[in-house]
Amino acid sequence: MRKTRAALPELSELQTVQHFTRLSRKNFSVDTALQPLGSCGTRYTPRGADSLAMLPEFLARHPEAPEGHSQGFLACLYDLQEMLRVVTGMQGISLTPAAGAQGEFAGVAMIKAYHAARQEFERDEMLVSAADHGSKQASVVMCGYKVRSIPTKPDGDIDLASLKTMLGRRTAGVMLTIPSGLGVFDRGIEAVAALVHGVGALLHCDGVNLTAILGKVRPGDMGFDVVHLDLHKGFFAPHGGGGPGAGPVGVSASLLPYLPVPIVGLAGDRYSWLCEQERPESIGRLSAFAGNAGVLLRVYVNLLMLGREGITRVAEYATLNANYLLKELMKAGFEAVHPDRRATHEFGVTLRRQVRELEVSSRDISKRLLDYGVDAPATWFPPIFPECLLLKPAETENKETLDRFVGAMKSILKEAETDPDLVKGAPYRLPVRRLDDVRAARDLDLAWKPANG
């Protein structure tokens, strides 16, 4: 038995409501910030998708409810599997990974299982694009592989020559993001796929940016063996201040047996769970039940409402917005990372020149953007391009908002020229001024204690 009561707050309902309502108002968010530039790919979730995913019966459904009490729910998941199969062009889908990183892990684990089934144990390397996201390193290591980095050419596409020299009998797979983390579509993707498959390795796609090409071109058609999606980024599930997500994986025929469980099956008109017993070669389950079911339902409803026409429209409008914004920023004197390429739904702007000439960093500029009511993009990604702003205007932004953003960037540039300290001191108009990260990491204060008030 517990001896002393846990030191939780003891508040009235009104005090609780007031406290958290006030906290909420300190956040930027899609619903409130002036120009949310799709940081982390955050998108608006239609309120209808949200409500319909939370019908009382769905909220009350126990994960171990018998299939007889689950046909409605399973039908939704099954339909979602089918929709994702169609839009990715893959052969099979498992919805269960809880986020992009877990989907990424599942992909690598399936590749491992595939080679293991072929007894090709000498394959111990994963080749990862140099422009890629940090989580890949960890996902690969978690599967017992070594990582090697594939260089990209100045135009952003994979350097095929280098790739050729790196591929071999030790290659288990190659991991790319398409469109890439800098928003370019790799024009040599078919050649890449051919080379990879040529050595018996598999091609792994980070689908976090798939929204940009939805309904235009599909990973399955490009030759990928596995793709994971980030439903809370490109697929309209809410971001919730950092989650929950969902990271379904789609696979080509060669990886079908290894898909993580559970999967929803259909026999006649009856839906059922396919689990470890039914799918003995599966890499298994990755969470206690079936992943973030509530997120999946939201995405399902949203895809229903978007339909065939809608998904293409999303890709088109997002791409239109990005290319317009890129052009306007270039007109305003900013330098594109890949000036000769089309933007997809995002693009990089490098502030190298400004940083050199004006002694403000891209971080200063992004903090100053906050004062303009813009939820500024992260400045530490992609790692190979320092002092770069990655911009991803969602398809829901309109021209006025984009023009306002360009206006803000222009005036910040002017501020940086005339009064750099102003920019360096930003932000000024938020609940706090610039925070001391170094202090946070050094004098760790991670939990309230009576002593530290």
């Binding site: 909420s24 108002r25 956040n27 729910f73 339909g307 001191g425 706090v432 925070l435 990491a441």
Partner: protein
Amino acid sequence: MLGAIGVDSIEALFDEIPDRLLCGTLEAMPTAVSEVDASRLMSARARLDGVPTCFIGAGAYDHYVPAAVWQIAARGEFYSASAPCQAEASQGTLQLLYEFQSMMAALTAMDVSNASLYDGASALAEAVLMAVRINRKSKSRRVLVPKSLHPAYRRVAGNIVRNQGIVLEELPYDPAGGHIDPVLLQQYDGLDITALVIPQPNFFGVLEEADTLVEWARVNGAVTVAVVNPLSLSVLSPPGEWGERGVDICCGDGQPLGAPLSSGGPYFGFLCCRQAFVRHLPGWIVGRTLDVDGKTGFTLTLHARNRRTRRSGAASNICTNQGLMVTAATIHMALMGAEGLSRTAASCHSNTLRLGERLSMLPGVSIRFDRPVFHEQVVTLPVAANGVLRTLAAHNVLGGLDLSRDYPELGNAILCCATERRTAEEIEIFTGRLERAVALQGGAPCRLQPKGW
């Protein structure tokens, strides 16, 4: 906008995609439906599943969530906020996460908590990986995992750590008590054991001799990992106080803290540890710091930030967590207070005892284990559980979880749970229906007269 870009159609923006890869109209994707139509479909499917009376627990509990919790958590400012990368524009989410960490530390009596992982099962996998990293002295990578731990947790942990040479070794449970008999551990005395996992209460609802187990681990140089139900901690001794010095790591699933059942997710995993191990803690961690004016503020700290940048040395691939569920849990804990949580726990406990009492009065039905339980318990039936549960389900009662697949040695056993939401009347209905269902399967004859149920 097209003019500014210098193209004459949106299609032109996709001209870097090789023509032969374009997928054309995706006929297999349905056309768009309106929100009214989607609502019709979803309502029909929800109605199909209904809301049966739930006596299943097994890792997901049908608790009442006060209405205030989600009315506040669902505010757009939380719901549609992106990840708190720009700390100054995310003080709401960040302060909330700091409060969450504080409350979890208080509840578990551990020094620090992270800001969540996907779910309890994957949190256990992260805890095992962390234990292996911490226990530098141990070379064996042998981790003792009791069979009395949730089967899905054992599978998930295995699936995630499998490729890193970590061995999860099963510890049998005592056939009479359903717990780990500490005597059994003597066989491992002096061996190189990296970590010992201790569930409390365990999967059977049975309370383990946690103090003794922790002391055994301490003496034998094994890192201790507790897997706990956070609600139970309002009444049971917290892991930070087990044995002489408490456990090293503590994890579990946060579902009982404000997450509706929703078919298994989104819930959230939590992970707490000693201060000494904080630099090994995966997932986001929020620290309190100061801004340039000396005002208190909050920011992501430690490796959380770095993981997104650096491509090497990351021990875990976690990026997105379960932010919104943590938002709800934080509001839930603040609203309930320690007092409210312990009242709920006590009410669940007395309901479970009452259920056990009533069921065990039926002929041939008995409580399987003789040790004290919390929250749920194993009940043995005189006939196969499968058919009985099916009959009950037909009467809209989910009578418990069939244990025959994971624990065939237990015979006709089911795991039953009665949360604070179950009424005395529902327990009577369950009892009556169970008696008749057993009789139907050729078990003991029916003692009760039908009462018009």
